[in-house]
């Protein structure tokens, strides 16, 4: 069977356009479309697993046209975004407005688009879809905090998207092309200074979405303000897509020692800042938000360790992304009431926390393990020690969090079940053997 990856985007867009016509059943329609999309994303993943990278041309072959380029990580992320999106949707079932469902679908479609597109301007467009949908979704909760968070998100996000566009313009001024692979192949022809300036603009712009320090001022407020389901969506959707976009930027377009180094230290700064700031948080969602920042830093560190070949870097980021997406989204769902009355939520929460801390055989362990191996092979002992330090802090506040969440009170089933299911993904990805082969494949045009 030929899998058309474009359906991953086309179907949710089509159904988002369709929803106003069928308002009454929009909930069930959305959930079935999400399920369908999840199945597609699984098919795409297997396609990538069996055949390697997928290129799917849209209308015209690049560089004059656009193509979708799906490597192992984007297949994984597409899977995560769609499958988690479907599961997480259960927690938002109480929302009656069909517009909410449209926005939800669009956010999913946009995030998927970011990761599977092979065109840098197209990526920008999908960034905007995701961002606009997220702004609206964040503000959808009827509270002052939500609006404030959304406004902050919007200001920084718009600034970021301006910078992205600026970077794209600078690249285009030199390369006369927008195709990522094409740019990557001819990057050496580029004027050095413009290359770095455009890299800086792109990194800054995408970094805002990817929650990098110090571009992440919006993160805690948004996660605190948004409702649990949306916070969960943000944690596995846009932010993961953005960090993957940075990986493409870093590894595919601008591979150089300097960019790796800069990414490494930004990653370390993000990690430390996030974890240290999370340490004294009293609000659960805010703490989780800071912890998310830290995890994003960890993922960025993993990407930046690529200079010795992808032997460790890509598997590390692969597992870290899975672990963080599944664990953090389930913890955000848990933060709805923060009570682990039933066994389901209790063990779900523990699994998530353990995966984040990096306990085997959960996905988080493999992520950290490869990360450490990569860092050790480059003899970055200082980085390793800093990661240890942040890991200990993480353990401290997560233990406190776990203790605080003890309670007899039970969460609604609409939160408890998705939460438990989401957290099991970190276990499943840690145990399934074929994942490793998946993790070890090459990035698009990457080293």
């Amino acid at each position: 069977m030929v899998v058309h990856a474009v359906l991953l985007i086309a179907i949710p867009l089509l159904s988002a356009f369709l929803i106003p016509l069928i308002r009454k059943i929009s909930k069930w329609f959305t959930i079935s479309i999400l399920t369908l999309n999840s199945i597609f994303s699984i098919l795409v993943l297997f396609e990538v697993y069996n055949k390697g990278m997928i290129y799917e041309i849209i209308a015209f072959s690049p560089p004059v046209g656009i193509y979708l380029a799906i490597d192992n990580l984007s297949a994984l992320l597409a899977l995560i975004i769609n499958v988690f999106g479907a599961i997480n949707f259960v927690s938002t079932l109480k929302e009656k407005s069909f517009k909410f469902h449209m926005l939800y679908l669009l956010a999913i479609a946009g995030s998927t688009g970011i990761v599977i597109t092979g065109d840098i301007f197209n990526m920008f467009v999908f960034f905007e879809i995701t961002a606009v949908a997220s702004y609206a979704l964040v503000a959808s909760k009827k509270s002052e905090k939500a609006v404030e968070g959304a406004i902050k998100y919007m200001i920084l996000g718009s600034l970021g998207s301006t910078f992205i566009l600026m970077g794209i313009a600078l690249i285009y001024s030199q390369m006369k092309s927008l195709n990522i692979y094409d740019i990557a192949n001819r990057i050496s022809m580029m004027n050095e200074n413009i290359k770095w300036i455009s890299f800086a603009f792109l990194l800054t712009g995408i970094g805002v979405e990817a929650e990098l320090f110090p571009l992440n001022g919006w993160v805690p407020d948004v996660y605190e303000g948004a409702s649990s389901g949306i916070a969960s969506l943000l944690s596995f959707g846009p932010s993961k897509a953005a960090i993957y976009a940075i990986a493409r930027l870093l590894i595919v377009i601008f591979p150089s020692m300097h960019t790796y180094e800069i990414a490494l230290w930004i990653g370390v700064a993000t990690l430390l800042m996030g974890e240290i700031a999370a340490f004294m948080q009293t609000d659960a969602k805010r703490m989780l938000a800071y912890s998310s920042i830290g995890q994003m830093g960890l993922i960025l560190i993993a990407f930046s360790l690529v200079s010795q070949g992808i032997r460790y870097s890509i598997p590390a980021s692969f597992f870290l992304i899975v672990s963080h997406a599944s664990a953090k989204s389930s913890l955000f769902l848990l933060s709805h009431k923060n009570k682990m009355g039933s066994a389901l939520t209790k063990y779900g929460g523990i699994t998530a926390v353990l995966s984040l801390i990096g306990m085997p055989p959960l996905a988080g362990f493999w992520g950290k393990w490869y990360l450490f191996l990569g860092a050790a092979s480059e003899k970055l002992w200082l980085v390793i020690i800093l990661i240890f330090f942040s890991g200990i802090i993480e353990a401290a506040y997560f233990a406190r969090y776990l203790h605080r969440s003890i309670g007899e009170e039970k969460m609604e089933a609409s939160y408890a079940y998705p939460m438990a299911v989401l957290s099991t993904f970190s276990l499943a990805f840690g145990l399934l053997p074929f994942i490793y082969k998946m993790a070890n494949m090459h990035l698009l045009g990457g080293v």
Binding site: F121, V125, E128, A131, V132, Y135, A136, A139, E144, K145, V147, E148, G149, A150, I151, M154, I155, S158, L159, S161, T162, L165, M166, I168, A169, Y172, S173, K176, L178, P220, D221, E224, G225, A277
Partner: protein, 113 residues
């Protein structure tokens, strides 16, 4: 280097700087969004400038002209403008919501740390 291009680049740099300055200093949320729009405009202008060719004309088949400007940036700008409009529309809605909750558009600090 063409004078038009130079002037255009100067405008771009000015617009971006003004916008950035506005975002960095203004407390009024409306003004911040206006600043962002200014920046957006700056980038759009920059795209156009990049595609500009001295003596070129609009890229529509025309027997009288042999020199066309780069069509791609124009297409990009079209997209960018629409995106800018959308974001602005949503921003206005958020500001309305903010105003209806707080009664002001001056941001005096809220959630922090």
């Amino acid at each position: 280097m063409n004078g038009v291009i130079m002037a255009s680049y100067f405008t771009v740099a000015s617009l971006l700087s003004i916008g950035l300055y506005g975002v960095m200093t203004k407390r009024n949320l409306m003004k911040i969004f206006i600043s962002l729009s200014i920046m957006d405009t700056g980038v759009n202008l920059m795209l156009i400038t990049i595609g500009y060719l001295p003596g070129g004309t609009a890229p529509i088949e025309n027997a009288n002209f042999a020199k066309y400007v780069d069509p791609l940036p124009q297409a990009l700008v079209l997209t960018a403008i629409v995106i800018g409009v959308s974001v602005t529309a949503l921003a206005l809605v958020l500001l309305i919501k903010y105003h209806s909750k707080k009664g002001t558009l001056e941001y005096k600090g809220g959630m922090k740390w």
